[in-house]
């Protein structure tokens, strides 16, 4: 199943903040974690993660530091900041409201009428 790209974009910030609140990570590891959490359903364009991370850094939600990988390459690690945790809590509330509303819609909405068998 492909997830609509607007939906991916809207959920990207809380996902990244949530993943980082479990511990510091670098870009590739964040994307891998997204894949695991969604069971492979959410496929991001990898390159788009970095402008997003830089935007979150500019907003003060995450901080970054350069380290080295096991292979000795330069690697940038990201960590969530207190402001980021606040923003994350705020997003969580918003998404809870949205999810609750959607849940009720799914529940009450009529399913499309099934096609009567035998007439095709």
């Amino acid at each position: 199943m492909r997830i609509d790209k607007d939906l991916v974009a809207a959920s990207a910030t809380p996902l990244v903040l949530g993943i980082l609140s479990d511990g510091d990570l670098y870009g590739y590891a964040i994307l891998k974690r997204v894949g695991e959490l969604s069971g492979g359903g959410m496929q991001w364009t990898d390159g788009m993660l970095y402008p997003l991370l830089h935007r979150l850094e500019r907003l003060g939600y995450v901080s970054s530091s350069w380290g080295t990988s096991e292979a000795g390459r330069r690697r940038k690690h990201y960590a969530i900041t207190p402001a980021g945790r606040e923003a994350f809590a705020d997003r969580q509330e918003q998404w809870t409201v949205v999810a609750e509303a959607l849940r009720q819609v799914w529940h009450t909405a009529q399913r499309p009428p099934a096609v009567a068998p035998g007439w095709a």
Partner: protein
Amino acid sequence: MEHAELEAQIDRWRGYVQRRQAISPADVDELEDHLREQVADRQATGLDDEEAFLVAIKRLGNLDAVSREFAREHSDRLWKQLVLMPEDPADAGATPWRELAIVLALAVGAGLAVKAGLTWIEGGGVLARNLGLLVLPFLTGYFAWKRRLSARVVLGILVPFAVLAVALNAYPFTSGGSTELLAVLHAPVVLWLLAGIAYVGGRWRSDGRRMDFARFTGELVIYFTLLALGGAVLTGLTFAVLQLVGADLEPVLENWILPFAVPGALVVAAWLVEAKQNVVENIAPVLTRVFTPLTIAMLVAVLAVLAAVGGLAEVDRGLLILMDAILVLVLCLLLYAISARNSLAHPGVFDVLQLVLVAAALAVDAVMLTAMLTRIAEFGFSPNKIAALGLNLLLLIHLARTGWLTVGFLRGRRPFTALERWQTRYLPVYALWAAVVVLAFPPLFGFI
């Protein structure tokens, strides 16, 4: 190496990404780390190098879209920033601060030399002869340090410098005579050639390095002008404030600020041009495009006026000198336009415009030569006339061949590099001629 092909592919990709202005080198490092992780994970699932690389690139996404996203986040990067002092101490080392200290010391040194000259050298003529000798060593010294010149090259610069210094001071010039004035005007050209040898790090045979020096000269003029404008505004404001409280700054300006600020600004401008060469787009191409059509209009107007005046023998000597100045300016513009042009680009409208400029300059030069020869036939030789005649002949050869090569280029018969090479090969001729005027003219004409 086992994964040589993969490494080569990643290298090529890096070069490709690095050309994006919105993506900084640090971002490229970050993306490369991502790419390599992705490749390693794909290899672990059994893909070979090539397949793994292709998948990783595909997952990274369309580079245009990603680069646009980077640009949206970092719009400031589209304005390239001049970094004089690297912020990251890790890749800085000690050199930038040391370089700044050396530049400032040389700037102050040039100021001190000029101030000393003003204080101790008697007579305006003697001072004018020595002014270049006082300032240029500091600029040349900066490049000598920066390029780590070998002792042989340093000697090759010092000996001509010493000869020039001795000639300018030991010749018994008639005060205010024309050979003295010619020496004052031509000595800086020779000194500039010596500075050029230091600039190219002694590789003066290389056409590319010579062209770099031409570019450097143009950018230096622009930077120096900008510094001078800024300095003038600052001094003007200080003046105005001090005048209100009744203090007169003029003696201070004359005796202290100008002698230090002007030579100092020259050294600092040289450093700025050195530091920025790869960072900021050169302003030169823009300026040449603006001024080439304007200069053509000026040359045509001048030609029309000269034709209207008629009898060229009566043309004033001052006018001939002015016209020489105009032609030298045209030549600088031309040289700068050529140095700023991408030599691989196809002929375009601007190249035609350049040819028109050369043709107009040639016409002016021809009129000038006729006027000069007429004057010489009528009034006989004088050092001024011979110097002007020599310069005009040099300009004529330079312009004629430039025009010829431009025609060849426009018709697709010759590469643009032929035009470039002609410029760089011909430039030292001017300095040699200037050396002849400084060294041989005074004795030839009896120091009048």
